[in-house]
């Protein structure tokens, strides 16, 4: 059941990326090119996604529990720290170079463009290194906070 519903959710997400044009890095790069060939489509994707999610989350999170798991598990971390801002800044540089973020890159993988085949494995390596780095940095930042 979990596998079926997980697959369906992923398929809807991927179709959303395809329909919205976000599986094409050229559309991302043109969105980011304010001074050149600006294509505002990405803002419409974000708007459509955020509005539906905003409404849907309110309905779903009013429930006691999700359908297929015991409880909701949403991020509870508060506070703006250097890792959040630094990570997002690094992410934005890569996004601006390649025109891919993780969802579109994975969705575009079966299209087998050479650039995608170079991007995705490197992204997974970067993800792995980043997860490791966060784990190593965690005790350090607790120390700084005096906890």
């Amino acid at each position: 059941m979990r596998i079926l519903f997980g697959f369906a959710s992923g398929l809807v997400f991927g179709l959303g990326l395809v329909v919205s044009g976000m599986a094409d890095p050229a559309k991302i790069l043109n969105f980011l090119d304010l001074a050149g060939s600006w294509d505002p489509s990405l803002a419409f994707v974000m708007a459509g996604a955020v509005i539906i999610t905003f409404i849907g989350y309110r309905l779903v999170l009013a429930r006691k529990a999700p359908l297929l798991m015991e409880s909701f598990d949403v991020p509870s971390v508060k506070g703006i720290d250097l890792t959040l801002v630094g990570g997002a800044a690094i992410f934005g540089i890569g996004w601006g170079i390649g025109g891919f973020c993780p969802g579109p890159a994975l969705t575009a993988l079966p299209l087998l463009a050479p650039g995608t085949l170079a991007f995705v494995p490197a992204m997974l390596v970067g993800l792995w290194v980043g997860v490791r780095a966060r784990k190593l940095a965690a005790p350090l930042s607790r120390l700084q906070k005096g906890a």
Binding site: R2, F13, G87, A122, M123
Partner: protein
Amino acid sequence: MPLAETTFTPWASLLGGGLIGLSSVMVMLFFGRIAGISGMAARALQMVAVPVQDWSWRIAFIAGLLAAPCAALLVTGSPVEQTVSDNLPLMAVAGLLVGFGSAIGAGCTSGHGVCGLARLSPRSLVAVLTFMASGFATVFVLRHLIGGSA
């Protein structure tokens, strides 16, 4: 850096965005989790260890993502249009930065940009403004300062 012209597609993009939102709501309704793709990939590949019942659906979700362009091909009869840079070293660097940055920043366009903003999370708002700003700046430098195709 391909300088491909693209057409502004407000309705298709709004509709596709709506589907992305629907998927995020499905993931919350079924599994009670945020539909952030970087976190999804990290857990699906057990870079972040999760128990099996919290793992299998994530693998299935990624399989669903991969199935999407194939489904689109079956329905429309034409492959998804895209222009991807052929500069492979540059694309690999971009991938490294995107992966590393989303791990360090605890999210990407989907986790912060869609789910986080919909939850009115101040952290996500800061992350989105930051990666938008650095994305704008990067494209400006590559296309207008360095100029031409890399």
